[in-house]
Symmetry: C2
Subunit: 483 residues, 2 copies
């Protein structure tokens, strides 16, 4: 449904950025109106595809003039509906995909300047081409864009050593809701000129500005890795092992915990997988150590030495270090197949949560038990990034229930209870995926009042007209002049 306002908006944008940047045909719009998992479906008056920062400024100026909201979108891989417009059809999708140049790349400086639409795997390739690495990766790397990764403060599997995007962004360029360009790309290691606008835009989900480019940290390329699999009796033993390793070396990049029954599911459902260890263990961890030069101890030798010591001291029950890349890949395949195996086992609700690392072992035991007690017949599982205090917390439906009915009735109440447990443990209801539209009400229900008031105050200060990704993350403060 296109109202006269949006028609004039589209005509004015078209006159400023050209026809190639404006799509209104229904079939061309359709793929971008739903999230990739098909949970959220919206409508939009147009898909706008600027080719430059100046084009974005033009779009933002027209958006202000005509009071047409903008929904920024990168690779459309949000897990929380963060890039899907609402259903009234008056907003425009602002796609950053044409802003896809790597403006600069320097092994010496250890930085890349990438535009918002650069796809993560393309950045990986470019960095590798100069003997470097951008040390953040995740499943959607073939679609996810730098702008989206920044706007959601993405994490992934290498956070243990290098942190999330928040630690990897050295500078941001963005168009703010007032139409001004914030130019923060200079990679200054020390800069104390007031509040960090860079850090404010990281994780802001496009509600405070449109990220158009960023300066990113690169690190030396990996020259060798060691991968090990350890069987142990509890998450507490796993955390004790992690602490030992962290004291002994700073080469550990991954430390993933897997319950015995999740491993069994993988072995049952995923063809070609086999258990890395002979015996049965209640819990498992997958560890990866890497080096960036060959002058020191090989990472496989390092892991063998440290794990032999640990097992000798009773920390861990059995361990094996991959003897080849093929064995290492096979271990990672088990980890990467956990979600697929869980899905094959029946309908489940999944949660992306974090608690302080020190609290995680208790949470993994007590939280799972509390859920299964409260919801008889369900099966709860927690697995993933123990070292980040971030696990995937799945609750599988009782055997034989009707999938749709269960999702319609119990699933939301189960999620609310998981979130209550997380808050009681001092944790976060969104570790990695952000708030988007999916968790907005839960954030409002469970957020600390001081934090919520601060979020609303910032949103209202930056975007008093409410034109930047409305309906996501946080509502405007009540007094604000909504469109």
């Amino acid at each position: 449904m296109t109202s006269p306002d949006t028609e004039r908006f589209i005509a004015d944008v078209l006159s400023r950025i050209g026809a190639r940047g404006v799509t209104t045909a229904h079939d061309d719009l359709a793929p971008w109106l739903s999230d990739w998992r098909g949970r959220y479906h919206g409508a939009a008056c147009a898909l706008l595809s600027p080719a430059s920062t100046e084009d974005v400024v033009a779009i933002v100026e027209e958006s202000r003039r005509h009071r047409v909201a903008l929904v920024p979108q990168g690779g459309n891989t949000s897990m929380v509906g963060g890039a899907t417009p609402d259903q009234d059809g008056r907003a425009a999708i602002l796609s950053l995909r044409r802003l896809n140049r790597i403006r600069d790349l320097s092994a010496d400086a250890g930085t890349a300047i990438a535009e918002a639409g650069v796809i993560l795997s393309d950045l990986h390739d470019a960095a590798a081409g100069i003997g470097c690495r951008f040390p953040l990766t995740l499943g959607a790397r073939g679609s996810a864009t730098i702008g989206g990764l920044i706007s959601t403060n993405a994490g992934g599997t290498q956070v243990l050593r290098f942190g999330t995007m928040r630690a990897l962004v050295a500078g941001v360029e963005a168009v703010l809701p007032d139409g001004q360009v914030y130019r923060g790309l200079a990679p200054l290691k020390k800069d104390n000129r007031g509040y960090s606008i860079d850090q404010l835009l990281i994780g802001a989900e496009g509600t405070l500005g449109v990220v158009t480019a960023a300066t990113l940290r690169l690190v030396p390329a990996i020259v060798d890795r060691g991968v090990a699999w350890v069987g142990l009796e509890s998450p507490h033993a796993a955390l004790a092992l992690l602490r030992r390793l962290e004291r002994a070396t700073d080469r550990i990049e991954s430390f993933e915990i897997i319950p015995g029954d999740s491993l069994a599911l993988v072995l049952d459902h995923i063809p070609g997988t086999r258990a890395p260890l002979a015996g049965r263990h209640a819990w498992h961890v997958l560890i990866e150590a890497v080096v960036t030069d060959t002058s020191g101890e090989a990472p496989a030798r390092l892991l063998e030495r440290l794990l032999a010591d640990a097992l000798g001291d009773g920390v861990g029950d059995d361990a094996v270090v991959a003897a080849s890349e093929a064995q290492a890949e096979a271990m990672w395949r088990i980890r990467d197949s956990l979600s697929e195996a869980e899905r094959a086992a029946g309908p489940a609700v999944q949660h992306d949560i974090s608690v302080p690392v020190a609290s995680m072992p208790d949470f993994m035991i007590d939280g799972v038990a509390a859920m299964e007690r409260a919801w008889p017949g369900t099966h709860a599982t927690a697995f993933g990034h123990l070292g980040d205090g971030n696990v995937h917390f799945h609750v599988r439906a009782p055997a034989g229930v009707d999938r749709d009915a269960w999702y319609a009735t119990d699933a939301h109440r189960i999620t609310a209870m998981v979130h209550d447990l997380v808050v009681a443990a001092g944790g976060s209801i969104s570790a990695e995926h952000g708030i988007g539209q999916m968790k907005r009400d839960e954030l409002a229900r469970l957020g600390d009042p001081a934090r919520l008031a601060a979020l609303r105050a910032i949103k209202s200060a930056f975007d008093p007209l409410g034109l930047f990704n409305p309906g996501k993350l946080v509502p405007l403060a009540p007094s604000a002049d909504a469109p």
Copy 2:
């Protein structure tokens, strides 16, 4: 001058936090009304010393009720007048020094929870007591407090490896201007519940809230260090050497550059110093490498090996690795005496600036030359943290000028020109010290308009009454309701 408003405010605060927390006697107030370098002199109606976060809440509530502004103060070691009140005497100093408990300390978790008034050297000692290190240090460590270090995003001499406070703070507790307590101490490695309030408060100079406590990252204690001195022909050779070392190892914690004439000044003016190398060199670098376990190569051997390779390839002219702790201390004493030696050589204006690391060698040569050309008879020098893109940039007065007259006439214009050069090089007019009252006008003159508008919007959103450290960092937006 105490007006009736402030009298009622003081009485109400006293009834809520007790007499021990309220000082109004002139002699007791005096030491806190000037900055430690004696450049700024203010007045205050009282010195308030809360003993708990709840006391701070009470003070903020009374501050709102009576419209009395608060000037947060920690160790009073600001370099930019950031903790000194203005001269009208209606504000109160809010001293955090009694909030000085270390609430928690864990080698396992690698964290400390310290209240705002904990002195940095006390935190160093506490961390050392559990085999850990808080990896940030600076000259004022015996006075500077955690709250002040956070509020100024302090840096120091170990930023190369561990970053500034921004990278070392895992969580913040603060009282916001609306009187609510923001409780963000839980050390969550992944947390995507919207804009980072922690990061917003870091470097905010007390203008957005009063930091009352923080969760800080600890790292393993150092067990061995190696210190080396290298003579080279240019800052470009120094940067080339740094890049080589960074590619070869991640053990380098300091990389300080010193011009030959600054070394000569130290040797002339500081008793007991001697040149580490026999020959004359145009430039020098001081390098420190550390290890936290003894299983690998000793850091002195590492430096010997890497420097021999570098010199063999023509990067660097001569080098010596300290053979003892005494030699290492003697090298550091030269570096630490540079400011004192510069002062002994005559009146100078100093600047705390940064540019991108890759631009620093040109800036050190061209910037110094431009200043000496524009101000005949002056002597300009740049030295310090090359690896952070942050040097001390001194301009010494022509020989024989009257000190006071020179400061009154030329100094400000010289500073403005240094700042212009920094901005032209894409740098920051405040690398480490913040803006405070000293650089506020320069920030307003030189700041990117989009950045300035964003700073003002945030300030007005958090502190619409303008009661938190008024006159520092950024003014309220014009429309705001000032007190």
